[in-house]
C-alpha cells in the first residue's frame, strides 16, 4: 500500500492505494467521483479523460501514485453549482450527447483543446477528438458543440 495525496477539483484529498491502483479507480472507487467513466482496457476510448496539471490525460493509463501531489480536475469540478461551464452548456445546447457515457471524457478533452486553440475549426476538432470514442452521436453534434463551446470559453 502507498499513500497518495492530490488536489481534486480544488479539494485536497489523500488515501491509501495499492501500487497497481489506476488513477481512474482512485477517482471512481475511493473518491466516489463516478463521472469519470471506463469504456475500455486499451487506452482507446477516452471516456476516462480528466485534467492533470491542466493537461487532458486518460486516467485509465496512469497509476494513482503517479498523480501524487498533482492538481486533478474531473467533470464534477467543471460547473459552478447549477451554472454550467460554457463547454457543458454547448454540449447541451447542440445535442452533443445521447447516452452520456462518453460525455465527461469528451467535455474534459474539449476544454483542454479550447485552452490551446480558442477558435478551432471543424478539422481541428475532429483531429483532436481522435482519442475519444462516441458510439451514439456520429460526432456531428459533438463537433458543433466543441466549436461553440471553445468560442464561448474564450469570449
Amino acid at each position: 500500500m502507498a499513500s497518495v495525496s492530490m488536489t481534486i477539483n480544488g479539494k485536497q484529498v489523500s488515501g491509501e492505494v495499492e501500487g497497481r491502483t489506476l488513477l481512474v479507480e482512485f477517482l471512481r472507487e475511493h473518491q466516489r467521483l463516478t463521472g469519470t467513466h471506463v469504456g475500455c482496457d486499451t487506452t482507446q476510448c477516452g471516456a476516462c479523460t480528466i485534467h492533470m496539471n491542466g493537461e487532458a490525460v486518460k486516467s485509465c493509463t496512469m497509476l494513482a501514485v503517479q498523480a501524487d501531489s498533482a492538481e486533478v480536475s474531473t467533470i464534477e469540478g467543471l460547473a459552478n453549482g447549477d451554472e454550467l461551464h460554457p463547454m457543458q452548456e454547448a454540449f447541451r445546447e447542440h445535442h452533443g450527447l445521447q447516452c452520456g457515457f462518453c460525455t465527461p471524457g469528451m467535455i474534459m478533452s474539449a476544454t483542454a483543446l479550447a485552452k490551446r486553440n480558442p477558435s478551432p475549426s471543424e478539422a481541428d476538432v475532429r483531429h483532436w477528438l481522435e482519442g475519444n470514442l462516441c458510439r451514439c452521436t456520429g460526432y456531428h453534434n459533438i463537433v458543433k458543440a466543441v466549436m461553440a463551446g471553445a468560442r464561448a470559453m474564450n469570449a
Binding site: 495499492e18 475500455c40 445521447q98 447516452c99 457515457f101 460526432y139 456531428h140
Partner: protein, 787 residues
Amino acid sequence: MPRDDGIGASVRRKEDFRFVTGQGSYTDDLNRQGQTYAAFVRSPHAHATLNSVNTSAAAAMDGVVAIFTGQDLLDAEVNGLPCGWQVHSKDGEPMVEPAHPALAQGKVRYVGDAVAVVIAETLGQARAAAEAVEVDYGVLPAVGNMTAAKSGKAQLFEEAPNNQCYDWELGDEAEIDAAMAKAAHVVELPLVNNRLIANPIEPRVAIGDYDTATGEHTLFTTSQNPHVIRLLMGAFVLGLPEHKLRVVAPDVGGGFGTKIFHYAEEAIVTWAAAKVRRPIKWTSDRSEAFMTDAHGRDHETVAKLGLDADGEFLALKVQTDANMGAYLSTFAPAVPTYLYATLLAGQYTTPLVYANVRAWFTNTVPVDAYRGAGRPEATYVIERIVEEAARQIGMDPADLRAKNFISPDAFPYQTPVALEYDSGNYAGTLEMAKQAINYDGFAARQAASKAAGKLRGIGFSAYIEACGIAPSAVVGSLGARAGLYEVANVRVHPTGSVTMHTGTHSHGQGHETTFAQVIAERLGVPIENVDVVHGDTNNIPFGMGTYGSRSLAVGGSALAKALDKVEAKAKKIAAHLMEASDTDVEFKDGQFTIAGTDKSVAFGDVALTAYVPHNFPHDELEPGLEEQAFYDPANFTFPAGCHIAEVEIDPETGTVTLANFVAADDFGNIVNPMIVEGQVHGGIAQGVGQALLEGCVYDEDGQLVTGSYMDYAMPRADNLPNFTVDTQVTPCPHNPLGVKGCGEAGAIAAPAAVMNAVTGALRAAGVTKPIDMPATPSKVWAALHAS
C-alpha cells in the same frame, strides 16, 4: 402559437444536466452495502469438452467467498437461457434449439464461454482466483465461420448433425424461377454482410442483491428492457415470481441491440447473491465485451434480380446463410427471417420475392439483433443489386429506382412478402436527397477528382424498415413467444405536475424529453413540471423496452391513450366544478371551458380537486387523477427514405474518404427534430463504420482476431464528415401520434449507399468485380491493382 416545449419543438434535453455534470447514474456507479465481486472463468478454446473443473486451489485463496460451476447450476435446477422466438424450417420442423446453460455443462462452444464464476471480497481477488481455477479441456476441432460449419469439420450439438439450426423459406421458389426465366435481364450478386460488434461505450454490468428480510431479489443491469429480463430470468431461468424479483436498468450508456438480450451473467449474479447472501457486482471489461456481447449481422447472400426490357423489376430471389453463433440468443432466429426477408420488397413493386435462409451454428459468440436487425441486411441486398442492375443495363440509378417505386397513392400496399405498408412517398425522399447532394453536379465533381488523380463515386440507398415493433398478433403468428405492446402510466399530482412511467427504456434516445413534450402539449403544463421515469420494474407496471424503433410509435401511443383517459376524467371533474355536463366541456392549452359561456377552470385546479374531493359526486367520480394504458399496435410502421453517399478514393493508397453524405427520411410526425437528427447522425456513423471500417473476424478455428479497439476499427471523429439530414412527413395512419420511428434508419441505409459509391468509383476505373464490406484501403487497393 405553438408552445416552445410541445410537439415539434427542438427542446433541449431534460436529461442532459446530469450527464454533462458527471451525475449520471450508470450501473457501474452503483455499489451495494457489503458488496462482493464476480469474475468469470472463460474458455480460451472455441470448442472443447470440459473434462474437469477443479476449484479447490482457487477456493482457498484470499478473499474468495464462493465459486460456482455449471454442475452447481445443474444441481440447483437453474435452467438455461431461453430463446424468445421460434422459427420453423420449410419442411415444417421447428428450428434446432439446443440448451444454453448459463455456465457451460459438458462442453464449451466459443472463446469466452463461461465455465465458472468466482465471487470474492475484491475484484482483484476474484480475478486472481479465477486464474487459479483448473480446467481440463479436451480440445475439439472448431468451426469459426459458416463455411467451416457447413463442412462438418466439427459438430456443436448432437441434435444438429450438420450444424444447421433451420432452413426456412418465404415465397414460392418454382414460381420465382419461372418468372426469372422470362426476364430480359437477370442480375446476380454475391454479398457478404460483415459481422459487427455493437460496442456501446458503456460495457455490460450486472449487480445481484438479495434481501434476506423480505426474500426479494434485485438485479441492477445495463439493459434496454428490464421487464423482459425479469420475465425471461424470473420465469424461465431461476423460477422466481415477479413480486420477489426487481430488475433495475438505470442510466444505460448505449445499447444498439446488444443490451436487449438476457445474458448469463445477469442470472448468475442474481442467483448467487441469494446463495452467498451478499450483493455481487460484475463489470465487464472491454476485452470481455468483445468476447461475450452478442454480435450482429454475419450473412452471406446470393441475390438475383430479374428485370424486363424496360427495367421493370419482375422477381427477386435471395439465398442467405446466417450465422447464429454457438447458442441461440434471445431474438436471434427472428433476425434473418422475419425481420429480414419480409423487407425484401423494399420500396419497389417487385411482384415476386423469394427468400431461402439457412441458419448455422458456429463456434463463435451468439449473433443477435444489432441496430436495424435484419432490415439493414435486407436493404443492403436490395439496394446493392438495384444499383448493380442500373449499371448493367445502363440506366441512371435514380431513374431505375423511381420507375419501380410503389406510388404514393397505392397505400395501404400489400407486398409479396407478408407485410402491408401503411403509407409512404418514396419519390419524395429520392428527390429531396438528390437536391441535397446536388446530383446534377456529380459529373463535374467527378471530373475534378479525376483531374486531381482521384476516383469519385456516388451511391444511393432507398431503404424501408418495419418499425414500431410490434403488432402482437402478427408477430405471434410468426413465432414470437411474447406480444410486443407497450405500457404508459400518467400520474397527475395534486398541484398539477406530472410523473409518467413508461415501459420503454432510454439509453440515449431522450425519452425524458420527448415524452414530456407530448404531455406538456396535451395537458398544457410546462415541461419543467413533467418527469418521465423508466427502468425499474418496481415502479412501472410492465413494458417490453426499447429496440426496433418502437419507443415513440408504441410507447408514445400508449402515452397518448393514457392521456386521453386523463383528459376524459379531468373533464368530468371540471364539469363538476363548473356545474355543467362533461360533454360540454372543452379542453385547450390547460384550460377547461364551456362553449358559449365565460366559465373556465385551469388544469391545476382540476388536479387539486381530484385529490381534495370535497363535494365529489362519489357515485359518478372517484378521487385521484392517474391513468394507465396498454397499447398494442395495429401494424408495424414503415419509415423510409433515401440516403446518398459520395466518396473519393485515392488510387495510390486505396483510402476511401466519405466526401459527402445526405439523408432524406420520412419518419411521419416528429416530436423533437433535434433529437431525431441526432438519432439519424448516430445511425449513419454506424452504417458508415460497417461499410468502411468495422469487421469482426474469427479465424477458421474460432479464435477471435478482433478482440479490442486496436483490432476492431470503430468510427472516430476524423473518419466522418458532417451529414446533411432532412425529413419529409407522411404521417403514420394507424397510431395516435402519426409517428414511425427514427432510431435505426441511418444504420439501415448507410452501408448500401457507401458501398454503391465505392463500387461505382471502382467501376469507373475498370473494376467490375464488387468488393465486400468493410472497404478498407488494402481491399480497395488490391481491387484496383488486380484489374
